[in-house]
């Protein structure tokens, strides 16, 4: 792994996990730079993007970064007006009824979702209902609600909708479909991979015939959002949305290994029920942000391993149950795969904040308002060159350390000027 992982922010591996403000400003600058030339970074410096997701996306830019990583930004641009159109439809009463019953049951202690009929719950309804109209054959599945709620904590309803669409269709296809076959298959994959990670844990689960769906359904369907402490949820999601489902597998494997990985540990929990109880009460030390992220990064379970095991389990499934009832699209392993499958145009990646605050500090305009942008696009096309993207010399992505001093000054200016033009801050 690149040494730069630790440059400037070793603290991110340790406890408390408070990122010093200076480091945070630098990271914000780096992320703004990446978001401004997203296509270049994803095609040429993808490893850097990955590393930065592993370090944690700065909170102020997390929503926007997730929108870009998942390809939801492109989807939204390609389907302008679609969300509004779905939002204006009443929805199938069958789904509306179930969704309404769930609105007050998502993160009930989060201030955004605490109030009945409050704006958080209203937006949650809009996003989930829109999804049932977008995919009427899929409808609504309860685990989608916490996922949508996490998204709404970071972005407006329309963006949350498109990220949800991407998660359901690209990252975790079939997870929420009738029959829940995809989640059962992934349970078997997790169990098979565990043998390589911890023989002791694997043997223990086998001995007590503890079926994966009894402990991993909530973990995977909610992408650990209801399992881990909040800071760890966000770090896991940063990596999950960048690298895909293998991150969920790794979290699951780390937890199983830590909780059931030694003879001593399994001796103290004899029985199926006792094991389930143990896995419900994961020791907080194993879920701590710094520890967990490090373990996830170091665990050698690749996309290839998962795909290979997927094929093996699929064969077994067909032998036991026949063909899958629900044909899901193939799973995309992360941001790069999604972008490669459907290369976006620069137009679709352009940032379009809805609120622009003119600032004397903002000497250079790297974002343009919607209406002005239209004019700008024209001239851009005529001139045959892009003027809206910032130059690359601000940050040299391959060599960040020597430029650190310089970066701090540049970075904070960059951060400040951009922050004032940011929709989500």
């Amino acid at each position: 792994m690149d040494l730069s992982l630790c440059s400037g922010a070793q603290t991110c591996w340790n406890s408390a996990e408070e990122v010093p403000i200076g480091v945070l400003r630098q990271r914000e600058a780096k992320w703004l730079e990446m978001l401004n030339s997203w296509d270049k970074w994803m095609s040429k410096k993808h490893n850097k993007v990955k590393e930065r997701c592993q370090k944690g996306i700065p909170p102020s830019l997390r929503g926007r970064a997730w929108l870009y990583l998942t390809g939801a930004k492109v989807k939204r641009e390609q389907n302008k007006g679609r969300f509004e159109e779905l939002d204006n439809q009443p929805g199938d009463p069958k789904w509306v009824d179930v969704i309404e019953r769930d609105l007050h049951r998502q993160f009930p202690f989060h201030e955004m979702f605490a109030a009945r009929g409050g704006h958080g719950q209203q937006d949650l309804f809009r996003v989930l209902k829109a999804y049932t109209l977008h995919r009427p054959e899929e409808g609504y599945c309860q685990a989608q609600a916490p996922v949508a709620a996490v998204l709404l904590m970071h972005m407006p309803a329309e963006d949350a909708f498109w990220v949800l669409v991407q998660i359901c269709e690209k990252y975790l296809p079939g997870y929420y479909s009738t029959g829940l076959e995809a989640i059962q298959l992934d349970g078997e994959i997790l169990y098979a991979l565990l043998r390589r990670v911890s023989v002791v844990a694997h043997r223990h689960l086998k001995k007590h015939k503890l079926e994966p769906i009894l402990y991993m359904t909530e973990w995977f369907m909610c992408a650990f959002s209801r399992t881990l402490p909040w800071s760890s949820v966000l770090r896991v999601w940063d990596m999950f949305l960048c690298e895909g489902v293998k991150i969920l597998f790794r979290v699951g494997l780390v937890v199983l290994k830590c909780m059931l990985g030694t003879q001593e540990k399994v001796k103290s929990c004899q029985g199926l029920y006792e094991t389930m109880e143990l896995l419900k009460k994961i020791n907080p030390q194993y879920m701590r942000e710094g520890f967990l992220v490090q373990e996830i990064i170091e665990l050698p379970v690749s996309e290839k391993d998962i795909e290979k095991e997927h094929q093996a389990q699929l064969r077994r499934w067909k032998e036991n149950h026949g063909d899958l009832n629900c044909k899901s699209p193939p799973r995309m392993h992360g941001a790069k795969a999604i972008m490669t499958a459907e290369p976006p145009s620069r137009q679709e990646l352009r940032q379009r904040p809805t609120i622009i605050v003119e600032s004397p500090l903002a000497s250079k305009t790297d974002v343009v308002p919607e209406d002005k942008a239209k004019g700008r696009i024209k001239t851009t096309n005529e001139n045959g060159q892009t003027t809206v993207f910032p130059t690359e010399e601000i940050v040299n992505p391959s060599d960040p350390s020597p430029a650190l001093e310089h970066m701090t000054i540049q970075g904070s200016k960059e951060s400040l000027s951009s922050a004032e033009q940011d929709t989500y801050l």
Partner: protein, 210 residues
Amino acid sequence: MGSDDSYNFVFKVVLIGESGVGKSNLLSRFTKNEFMHDSRTTIGVEFSTRTVQLDHLTIKAQIWDTAGLERYRAITSAYYRGAVGALLVYDISKHLTYESAERWLKELYDHADPHIVVMLVGNKKDLETLRTVPTEEAKDFADKKGLMFIETSALDSTNVEAAFNEVLTAIHKKVASKEVTRGSISAVTLSGSLGLTRESQEEQKGCCKS
């Protein structure tokens, strides 16, 4: 909860019924004496135990709770395995949740032990003014199907203890009767797969005593 207590029997009881009828609150009221208006939706499986004294016996009740949404029924066979009792819950203020009882019953008998003790539970009895399921109607249905019947309120605790205790007593009666101990998977699995080791000897004694 009380995993180190000694006990004579472990009974696995499952909660089933539509989403939002109050299964999770029945569980938390019985095992922790807690009620939450905005409890999280259940995704996957939740469970809790409580050890109760019935006559001179100590019974450890493992209560399992799962998601009520239709979609999750695809993954419930593991959930029913080894269950010796079930509370089929509906909401007395939502007739639809009562109408689906028949479907749940079929689902239960498809997956669980045929000797399983089943109780039909009309929950949210505190919402008397909004009642849409008359007590008599539900009681007749339960009689017809050979189910026990009770109305509860997890909110104000009405009949929650009674519901679980009656089911546990009925299970014990079945287990103690010869007819069930022979030939019934559930009675055998009680000490087998429900995970007794250190306590299994006490369990044996308990069995002989009863």
